[in-house]
């Protein structure tokens, strides 16, 4: 949908003075809509007032102060980065042998531990007597027993319901 010409011109007039061509367009439009002339006068008057608002008073050495603060900020950043680097280097230097030893222990220890565990499991399975294993039929009511409510013993009705 196209905006009416006065709305377009109003949007422009709210930001800057109209160009001669735009002013001519507006004059044409106002000739057809004289009832809007007062509204336009106040709009243009307000834009003029706002445009004439003077700049806020700023110190003459503002740029120099910003640049000096930026230099300080940069120097502080560099110093901070340097301090972190030095701290890291000192830490590495101090703990390097211990860290290397820990890494070797982990590399050797983990496979050894895993191999030991595997051996233990294999041995425990091997000594289990097959004859002592429960009959598979024992487990046929496992789900029913498992679904019984926990806590006090169920009533006969509940037991019957569960069995169904």
């Amino acid at each position: 949908m196209r905006e009416p010409i006065d709305q377009i011109l109003l949007d422009i007039a709210r930001r800057r003075p109209l160009t001669p061509a735009e002013q001519q367009q507006l004059d044409g439009w106002l000739a057809e809509h004289p009832q809007d002339r007062e509204r336009w006068e106040t709009e243009v008057g307000l834009t003029r007032l706002l445009q004439r608002l003077p700049d806020a008073p700023l110190s003459s050495n503002f740029t120099a102060r910003v640049l000096a603060a930026a230099d300080r900020q940069e120097a502080a950043g560099t110093a901070r980065a340097g301090a972190i680097e030095a701290l890291l280097a000192r830490w590495v230097h101090r703990w390097q042998p211990a860290a290397a030893l820990a890494a070797v222990l982990l590399l050797v220890g983990i496979p050894l531990h895993q191999s030991h565990r595997r051996g233990e499991v294999a041995r425990s399975v091997a000594v289990l007597p097959a004859a002592e294993l429960a009959n598979v039929e024992i487990w046929q009511n496992f789900d029913v027993i498992n679904s019984l409510p926990s806590g006090p013993l169920p009533s006969v009705e509940e037991l019957a319901e569960a069995m169904q």
């Binding site: 007032l49 806020a56 503002f62 940069e74």
Partner: protein
């Protein structure tokens, strides 16, 4: 908008590479618009200059994050507005009474300027300053988002789309903010709108702050 079309983006890419002269050029170019915005946004203008300095320090500090996909001024004014909002919130949490601002319940009313209506008419510069102070007061009385929208609207480089991006709202909402702000200002400044000039029978107020010397 790419750096080839936006000279500020090109400057900012140079700042990213550590070019101090490019940073200086950007500060010089935008210090006044940024300061205007902050000075008229904060309820207390005393620290506006420090805050404006912080805006440029943030630009310098986070230059490596800048991407020339958006207009430099949109990024810059967004930083400025966010810092203003932080400051307003901080002051809301820790309100401090200004020693320089007059207060109604004190007995220092005698120190306040009173207009002598019998005196001879002051010169045009003085009247212009007085009118500017009235407009300034009317702007300061607007809600924060309307005030920022109006102040950005004064910057010719800022389109409605840019203002919407800075305020973080839709284009329609931005136009509505500006419309409401203008309606309020028209009511408050009604008697000056026809001519855009001072009329001697208009109510008077204290003058705007004088030019500041370098600290």
């Amino acid at each position: 908008m790419g750096p080839e079309h936006d000279p500020d983006a090109a400057l900012m890419l140079r700042v990213k590479r550590g070019d101090r002269a490019a940073f200086e050029a950007l500060v010089d170019k935008y210090k006044q618009p940024v300061f205007n915005l902050i000075y008229r946004t904060l309820p207390d203008a005393a620290e506006a200059e420090d805050l404006a300095q912080n805006v440029f320090l943030q630009v310098h500090r986070f230059a490596h994050r800048y991407k020339p996909s958006a207009k430099f001024t949109t990024w810059l004014f967004t930083i400025a507005r966010n810092l203003c909002l932080n400051e307003i919130r901080r002051r809301g949490r820790h309100p401090a009474e200004s020693l320089s601002e007059p207060s109604g319940d004190r007995d220092d009313e005698a120190d306040r300027p009173v207009t002598d209506r019998q005196a001879v008419a002051p010169d045009q510069g003085c009247l212009d300053r007085e009118l500017a102070a009235l407009v300034d007061d009317a702007l300061r009385a607007l809600p924060e988002n309307q005030r920022v929208a109006m102040l950005l609207c004064r910057e010719e480089e800022q389109s409605y789309e840019d203002i919407a991006a800075i305020l973080g709202c839709s284009l329609a909402a931005t136009k509505s903010l500006i419309h409401r702000a203008r309606e309020t200002l028209k009511l408050r400044l009604k008697r000056y709108l026809r001519t855009g000039a001072w009329t001697p029978d208009a109510p008077s107020r204290p003058q705007s702050p004088p030019e500041k010397p370098a600290p």
